[in-house]
Symmetry: C2
């Protein structure tokens, strides 16, 4: 199939690569062309803007960072909807407000183009191993068209409902993820102060009712002093903003979400925006060395000692 | 072995039964004798008070509700430490403040008796199936003495350190459990308001970075309208009180714990103390019918409809 792909960040790059590996013809655009070089070397073709990528494609994917980027890529000047030969379906896999996904779908429908929102969970590892959970919103027909392609990118693919439903489900996901990372951090901090061996503590709590993906995968990273991003703090801040706005719009009082949003905003404001979400532990732990200002600079710094 | 057992509530009853099944001689005391009848019929022998149970035993276990009960059972008049023939080791499996466990161990040591704190996680199901996670504090010798008995009661048995360490680890466990149940409730509430199908939502989030024991085991109970206790709200309120006191004593600011404590206290104050911790969802969901005041009375009430 002829596929347009916009956005080759950490995740987008791996995902586009899977489609290339599956034998599809890829028309690629991204803001910083150097980030596309590897895929171009593997056979993808360069497109000068989103409209040019869409012009030659049956399906166009986008995987970009911010809602403003989603808007520019599809609805902006030389966006996908300005393609001379419109694609059949556009699939936005970024995390964006449900209202934006619905607006995009409406405008696309006016041009006879289908639109699917398909945000993901699973981070860089999930993108690399094609084990993402993909939360899909859109019409049955449009979803059926792109489903075989989504199967190349993820392992859990669930059609949540009409346009915007994928984004709503992603918000639910982020509410859970943020709370889990905060409680993990509080657990590690309590254990540290109480003089517990953190490994033994994790062994006890991980196998029971307190067990979670976060305890299994992120807590060990903290204990290794690894704050590299699987998922960026600043992206979670953006997502929690979307979540809080969505909750407020539905007159829903979610105090846990409100707390998570405040704590992650404070973490980003303290200079940790480019770290992984597990960096929340830095707020709580006392014996971690002061982290370097940027992720790249701390690669060789010694791991923090938080064992007793 | 000759074993004393104090406390035959929902969990204690199952646990004592496993020791009886393993062929041990059981001397049993509990506040309400009727709750011991089944075990007495299976061969356990009645003791009129904790001292009498301890008198004839090599190891004495306690599994009671409140710190005041732990204190009365061991340190009170006719408590285990007043046994004429002192037992070798006492094992308190209740959840209690670490300071109380240390005080008990100190007083026991003065009498030449060992003491182990061994609180558990895993609820009624874990007690019944002997799959509990048991968090153990005490000296190496005392823990070695009782380890073969603990193996009859649980599957994950980790020696956390000196007296009180088991209780500290249990606090960590409860910090995680409370946060997970609150975020699960907020997730279900958001999904409900957004018109998502809760089953599909759980399928999407459960398989990824938002996955947890709580999402897997408690969320489906909420969707069935099942608020029966695996673990009582009022016991979690007690545990979060111990946790908050412990954190404050260590000058640790845990805003997530503080929020969880407030929300669970409000839930208990609203009359839900005898329900399971998943009843937190009742705070958030709008289309659940007003719950009956007591658990027993709601057995036949219709399940709440929270699907879209």
């Amino acid at each position: 199939m002829r596929i347009g792909w916009i956005g080759t960040g950490v995740m987008g790059r791996s995902m586009a690569g899977h489609l290339l590996d599956a034998g599809h013809e890829l028309f690629l655009h991204t803001r910083t062309r150097s980030k596309a070089e590897e895929l171009l070397a593997r056979g993808a073709q360069w497109a000068n803007d989103p409209a040019a990528a869409a012009d030659r494609a049956e399906v166009v994917f986008s995987m970009v960072s911010l809602p403003a980027d989603v808007e520019a890529v599809h609805l902006g000047r030389r966006g996908t909807l300005e393609a001379k030969a419109p694609p059949g379906v556009i699939v936005d896999m970024s995390t964006a407000p449900p209202a934006l996904s619905r607006r995009l779908a409406k405008r696309a429908a006016e041009l006879g183009i289908g639109a699917v929102d398909a945000p993901v969970s699973g981070g860089d590892v999930g993108a690399r191993n094609a084990t993402l959970s993909i939360m899909v919103g859109g019409s049955d027909d449009d979803v059926a068209t792109v489903h075989p392609l989504l199967e190349r990118l993820g392992k859990t693919i669930v059609h949540q409902g009409a346009s915007g439903s994928g984004q709503h489900c992603k918000i639910v996901n982020q509410i859970l993820v943020a709370a889990a990372t905060i409680s993990m951090s509080e657990a590690l901090a309590y254990a540290q102060k109480a003089g517990l061996d953190p490994q033994k503590m994790l062994e006890s709590v991980g196998g029971g009712a307190a067990g979670s993906w976060t305890i299994q995968h992120l807590a060990p990273r903290v204990l290794r002093g690894d704050f590299e991003p699987g998922f960026l703090v600043e992206h979670l801040v953006k997502d929690l903003g979307i979540a809080a706005e969505g909750a407020a719009g539905m007159e829903l009082d979610l105090p846990g979400l409100a707390l998570a949003k405040r704590l992650y905003e404070e973490l980003a404001a303290a200079g940790h925006g480019k770290r992984g979400t597990q960096a929340m532990a830095l707020r709580y732990l006392t014996t971690v060395p002061p982290p370097a200002p940027a992720v790249a600079e701390q690669k060789d710094s010694p791991p923090p000692s938080i064992s007793s």
